[in-house]
Assembly symmetry: C2
Homo-oligomer: 347 residues x 2
Amino acid sequence: MSELGASCPLPASSERVLLAHGGGGRLSQQLFEELFLPALRSPELEARHDGALLSAGGARLAFSTDAYVVDPLIFPGGDIGSLAVHGTVNDLAMCGARPRWLSAAFVLEEGLPLSTLRRVVASMGAAAAAAGVALVTGDTKVVDRGRGHGLYLTTSGVGVVEHGAAIGPQTVRAGDAILLSGDLGRHGIAIMATREGLEFETTIESDSAPVHAPVLALLEAGLEVHCLRDLTRGGLASALVEVAQAAGLGCALDGAQIPVEEDVQGACELLGLDPLQVANEGRFVCFLPAAQAERALEVLRKHPVSAGATAIGVVSSARPGLVELDTGFGSSRLLDMLSGEQLPRIC
Amino acid sequence: MSELGASCPLPASSERVLLAHGGGGRLSQQLFEELFLPALRSPELEARHDGALLSAGGARLAFSTDAYVVDPLIFPGGDIGSLAVHGTVNDLAMCGARPRWLSAAFVLEEGLPLSTLRRVVASMGAAAAAAGVALVTGDTKVVDRGRGHGLYLTTSGVGVVEHGAAIGPQTVRAGDAILLSGDLGRHGIAIMATREGLEFETTIESDSAPVHAPVLALLEAGLEVHCLRDLTRGGLASALVEVAQAAGLGCALDGAQIPVEEDVQGACELLGLDPLQVANEGRFVCFLPAAQAERALEVLRKHPVSAGATAIGVVSSARPGLVELDTGFGSSRLLDMLSGEQLPRIC
């Protein structure tokens, strides 16, 4: 804070990018709403979805992009290459699309061992093959030593929307069930533990994985999926607050139904983190009519990546824009979007 | 070089990324052929085009991506934002597609003034509007201070192919005319002059511009466009050598027909650069039957961005894979792909 004091806002010209602008929480949202959206306005950006829905010559497409700057490049359960494939595949899945084609753009730092690049690219290839998507176009740039951090990677993806459903917060209704596809917090804790050299009794592995198969199975089963959201930066809490705000409805969650593994819970306590705000890379929530919840859980549990799916709460019109967690024993708390930067460079 | 000497190749594990791997010349090609392609193989990557051609539900699409790491972020005639829009629009145009939708992924360095980001994003918005494309999806990550260089930007694009032509080196035939859309070298020299603080009598401005309008006009006029290539990293020489190698044919160029502005020529001489290897961002070559060259030039010259179009040579089967330049007075030289790194971080 300058000596002018808190009552005098700093002039705009001295504002600078903070790590928290990339954290997926409140400052990320503010940057999007106040800087990107006004300059780049389009109906698709205004939908504030994980990807854009497009109509091209009779085909309905989804289009999405994500930059990856994870540190370290290689971590238990994955690396920046597989993560970048899973992340974009999952963004397309959250649009209800079948992921088909990916692009990859590398920003390499001069001096990066080619063996590291080879490993990351091999991992990308394997992840793409496993997810049934093709890497069809790419680009490589090199920046001078000290101007990068090994490599940054941006993947974009195109998928085909094969159904007529309108998936998004605007379709969420009071009475919808909220399903969670599995346990929380493993990606964030795996990264944090590697970076900080923390040792736990067992190695916590990232949950990084493609989730399009169970999502497409829900749609193919004819279930009325209202909204899907993957739980990356900012975790479950940020995703649900975003949906609640966009839908103008509230979410009431039962904490006892939200799975967090014991070692992840322990690591979170040690590090002072809320597992509901920690990033995942293979987890999503699904909103659909409560009457279909049981059938949807059956479908999800048939897929290994969502075998641990649970119903964690319901949508209500009682407290619009708020997410309330019943923590047991009659107490409850409001969940908030991540504010500040909890775990920089998590993805 | 290690003390083992030149006769003993270094083990693979000590190989590292060099600036020249991002230069668009020989080392870039080697990285693609030896590292990326084997791990990520797909028919689209094997086509070695500026973008991928896809079929989705009856629609023919083009999909392309480029990372931008240009230094400085703002230069005479443009900035990283407009450059990223033009670059991806042009890659789609080189596939014969009408550019429609763009994504943008930002890697911001902590501490970047928000005023710089605002300027770049405003410039992206204006460039997209001018090119008739919509920015429909995006992402922002932030890296710690000293791990970036202000900002890196990756744009991907999707376009619609509205004609049936097969555009690519495989369609090039002996006897084809080679058309060049305008003068060479301004983008590279504008960047270099800014970076090195060079002063010329006039400010040399980048040629950065979208070129889809004249390309689509050629196709709409029913001209048989065989191949298109934009002249970015590595310049005219690298682009023509690539096409000649892929087509298994030779190119014979008339140097007198290749426009280079006097101040650009002077700067190249001062800096020891070959203007035919300097990057452009609003220039392309077009291969089509010689009998259609005059009509094609008429079409191109109606568009300001290609008002200076000329016929610079012909394709022949005489010297497969080689590009020969007639420099006048009976002398000639073979053009080579850029080797090493001439101008790092040009785009």
